[in-house]
């Protein structure tokens, strides 16, 4: 059976008087899916509801058929649903490499006690993680920043480190909140390559992005939000031609 990676059913959330997300239902099929919409449309709020950073006022989210209601953020990550944040949240006080390695947390098999006793199994696992993380940094052209404190990196590099960290967790579904915001053209291209490579290896990606050429370039499917509601969805071409979408974006981009 071809189950969707993610299914939102009637999601609703208000902040004070503001209806940030209103009775929103959508489906994320496999592949790269873009979630777009004007500023304040509720995209980040959708991510926060899916990962249960705060509970929705109503509605449900299913991840490969499993309801995520009432699960803690770390339990949701444990199921293989990872996310990044709109403002890069690398861990200050850790190097770029350590940040990426931290992403592997849910795969660590050896117990803390084994690590404390320097048991061979622990050392092997640690070395393997280190190699994997280093390879990942190489891939995105950040090899030279490996031992730099992550918070000293330029913003673009921090966002890339955050994406690498999430990928280290080997997610089944990855939610990316504006991964290319603030990146220069070269970095944007690197991000696109990384995302395509990840998708090819079987990760489904739901990406919020304002850079339309990037969206049109990588997305298989596009979901458009406006004022917390579903405005349109379909292939990039369909969505681009949709008059409602053009109207919502009038004066911004299109």
């Amino acid at each position: 059976m071809n189950q969707p990676a993610l299914e939102a059913i009637g999601l609703t959330k208000s902040f004070g008087g503001v209806r940030a997300v209103a009775d929103l239902s959508f489906i994320v099929p496999a592949g790269i899916v873009a979630l777009i919409g004007p500023n304040g449309a509720g995209k980040t709020t959708v991510f926060n509801l899916v990962t249960n950073l705060f509970p929705p006022d109503g509605g449900d989210v299913r991840f490969y058929g499993t309801s995520l209601r009432g699960r803690t953020p770390n339990a949701i990550a444990g199921l293989g649903l990872l996310r990044t944040f709109q403002t890069a949240r690398v861990f200050p006080g850790m190097t770029a490499l350590e940040n990426v390695m931290a992403g592997a947390h849910r795969h660590v098999r050896v117990a803390a006690v084994a690590q404390m006793l320097w048991l061979p199994a622990a050392l092997r696992e640690e070395a393997a993680l280190r190699r994997e993380a280093a390879t990942m940094l190489d891939l995105v052209g950040l090899a030279r920043f490996r031992d730099t404190p992550a918070s000293n990196l330029p913003m673009g590099a921090q966002k890339l480190v955050e994406v690498c960290r999430a990928l280290m967790a080997r997610p089944r579904l990855l939610l990316l909140d504006e991964p290319a915001a603030g990146l220069n053209d070269a970095e944007t291209a690197e991000t696109a390559t990384l995302l395509r490579a990840a998708a090819d290896s079987g990760v489904t990606i739901l990406v919020v992005e304002h850079n339309m050429s990037l969206v049109m370039d990588i997305a298989d499917h596009v979901i458009v939000l406006d004022l917390g509601r579903l405005l349109a969805q379909g292939t990039p071409e369909d969505v681009r031609r949709d008059p409602r979408v053009i109207e919502a974006y009038l004066g911004t981009e299109a």
């Binding site: 200050p92 190097t95 931290a102």
Partner: protein, 618 residues
């Protein structure tokens, strides 16, 4: 019935004082989101100034009272302008909290130098004769406390509800960023609230001084009472602070009157924990939550890592040097070195909880006491082998830590720090109060030496080598954990809990683990301390020790494991080497904490590294 009313009246009086202190804490919290632990220090300062002005200089009570308040407020403003306000812009909440802990220690040290360690009691403002109200005896100080409390409460209410300053206070409490845009000078407002809180503290101290004997280190008690009051009522709620204070006062007096004063202290801890567990926003907080930008603020600090061959060589050199020390020094200095190492074990634990996981714990002295007394009592009275006794202590501490964590694992910053502070204070009162078990204030004597089977470690040199070996093993184990995924998870939690959880890290579970490790190591340290001294008294493992440990860790460098060693050495050895310094120890600890947070964020180790880099670059 009469007795009941009598106790309630006493409770209301004490509660009135708690309420005033709570108001001061709440005021600063509103503006800054920081729980100012120094608040209790201002109470003591106000009371002792009143004493000196009135009794040493012979000033009339009213004048002395006014002068004590003004002097304390001026001191508070100066202290705030030099430390609290400039640090607020740069430091994360947990560091700010510890900075105020440093201020509390500093004020305590200052009063120790000026007034010594004896308790003081000020004569009541209007004669000793209690007032008889329909058969209920009200202490003559009672009306004064009531009047002062009403004036303060009314004044604060007027300030907040009716003045521009009040409007600015509310605005910056609700949204500091927006307030800044609206042209509120948050720095000046912060200083104002800090100074006002100092004045309020002085008033409460001065007014309670006639019914309570006060000495230099009582500040922690007042801070704690004030904090529990605001936690009960709701941190940023002024009516909550008042109701919380009165309730706490009455509850404590009833518990003390009908059961025992030990029970009263336990009740305070229980009240705090139950509130935090059940209604963390307090009973008056309502749903109006402060939109706290500071909570989300992440902890920025530089990366101090020891790895690679250089570290192995440096570690080997250090171990050889430490192993050679007993052949180079002896006598009092060697004994002090042993104590340094023993205390370092507890600091090592604190580093795991605080340096790595970012969980500020003021519970180290409490766990040291548990470990120390458990091991000492078992070994002395029941002939249990010392190491087994120490192990028993560690198990007791582990259970206490897990029990405490049920509540604290979901708490952050101030709440955790203060829940652990309450725990330490409770243990303090148990060690003093359970005379049959602990020997009370005069302590336990005749504790045997540590022994490994038939091998007795009775000499300082033998003890030194044993503790050193233990430390090498402990550091090796902890370093193994910290360099791996366990340590990364703790570090991630310290840096950014939300992002850590988003990676699947079970934040509460790791916090509990870190806290448990710190408790067990503190317990071990306490046991060794008792076996080394052959004597254990409450003040050897009382709450000021917790603050001392934090100073040791901060000055050495957090998150490095080894940083606590130079810290412990500095604070333990200096007073041994220069005897006259002993009096200044508390003051220095406080100053070190404050200065280290402001100017040496990575401690001596980080500072030394930076100096090395700088020298290399030339």
């Amino acid at each position: 019935m009469n007795q009941f009313v009598q106790i309630v009246v006493g409770g209301l009086l004490q509660g009135g004082v708690f309420a005033i202190i709570a108001l001061g804490i709440s005021l600063v919290y509103r503006v800054t989101g920081i729980v100012n632990l120094a608040q209790g220090g201002f109470c003591i300062l106000g009371a002792l100034l009143l004493y000196s002005l009135q009794l040493d200089l012979g000033w009339p009570t009213a004048l002395a009272f006014l002068a004590a308040v003004i002097l304390t407020a001026a001191f508070g403003v100066a202290l705030g302008a030099a430390t609290f306000v400039p640090a607020l812009a740069r430091l994360p909440t947990s560091s700010m909290l510890m900075l105020t802990a440093g201020l509390l220690t500093f004020i305590g040290g200052l009063t120790l130098i000026v007034w010594g360690s004896q308790p003081y009691i000020v004569p009541p403002f209007s004669g000793e004769q209690p007032i008889d109200v329909a058969g209920i005896l009200v202490p003559s100080q009672g009306p004064w406390i009531a009047v002062v409390a009403i004036i303060i409460i009314g004044g604060i209410w007027y300030l907040i509800a009716r003045t521009d300053i009040g409007t600015a206070l509310i605005a910056s409490a609700e949204n500091p960023t927006a307030a800044r845009f609206m042209g509120v000078n948050v720095a000046r407002l912060t200083l104002f609230s800090f100074g006002l809180a100092a004045a309020i503290g002085a008033v409460s101290g001065a007014v309670v001084a006639p019914i309570m004997s006060l000495q230099f280190d009582a500040g922690g008690f007042f801070t704690n009472a004030g904090f529990i009051a605001v936690a009960l009522g709701g941190m940023a709620s002024l009516p909550g602070a008042i109701a919380g204070g009165l309730f706490l006062g009455v509850a404590e007096q009833l518990a003390a009157g009908y059961v025992s004063s030990l029970f009263a202290n336990g009740l305070a801890l229980a009240l705090l924990l139950v509130t935090l567990l059940w209604r963390p926003q307090g009973f008056f907080g309502g749903s109006r939550r402060r939109r706290d930008v500071r909570d989300e603020q992440r902890v920025y600090r530089s990366v101090v890592r020891f790895s690679g061959r250089g570290t192995v060589v440096a570690a080997a050199v250090l171990v050889v040097f430490l192993a050679a020390l007993p052949y180079l020094v002896g006598g009092a200095l060697l004994s002090s070195l042993v104590i340094t190492l023993i205390l370092f074990i507890a600091v090592l634990g604190l580093d795991v909880a605080m340096g790595y996981a970012g969980q500020v714990s003021l519970g180290q002295s409490g766990f040291m006491a548990l470990g120390g007394y458990a091991a000492a009592i078992l070994a002395t009275n029941y002939d249990v082998a010392p190491l087994l006794g120490a192990a028993a202590g560690m198990i007791v501490s582990l259970f206490a830590a897990l029990l405490l964590s049920v509540v604290t694992m979901r708490l952050q910053g101030a709440y955790l720090a203060l829940a652990t502070l309450t725990f330490s204070l409770l243990i303090d009162s148990l060690t003093v109060g359970l005379v049959d078990v602990t020997g009370g204030p005069s302590g336990l004597v005749g504790i045997p030496s540590l022994a490994l089977g038939p091998l007795s470690l009775g000499t300082p040199r033998a003890m030194y080598f044993f503790v050193l070996a233990l430390i090498v093993l402990l550091i090796a184990a902890l370093a193994g954990g910290m360099r791996s995924s366990f340590g990364r998870a703790l570090y991630a939690i310290r840096a950014d809990q939300t992002a850590a959880a988003a990676l699947g890290i079970n934040v509460p579970r790791y916090k509990v683990a870190a806290f448990a490790i710190s408790a067990v190591l503190a317990s071990l340290s306490g046991s060794l301390y008792a076996f080394d001294f052959h004597f254990l008294s409450p003040e050897m493992v009382s709450t000021p020790r917790s603050f001392e440990m934090i100073a040791m860790l901060i000055v050495g460098g957090e998150g490095t494991l080894i940083g606590g060693l130079p810290g412990a050495a500095l604070i333990t050895l200096l007073p041994t080497v220069f005897q006259p310094l002993a009096l200044y120890k508390t003051l220095a600890e406080g100053a070190i904490l404050v200065l280290a947070f402001q100017y040496l964020p990575d401690g001596l180790l980080g500072g030394a590294r930076q100096l090395g880099r700088w020298a290399m670059a030339r």
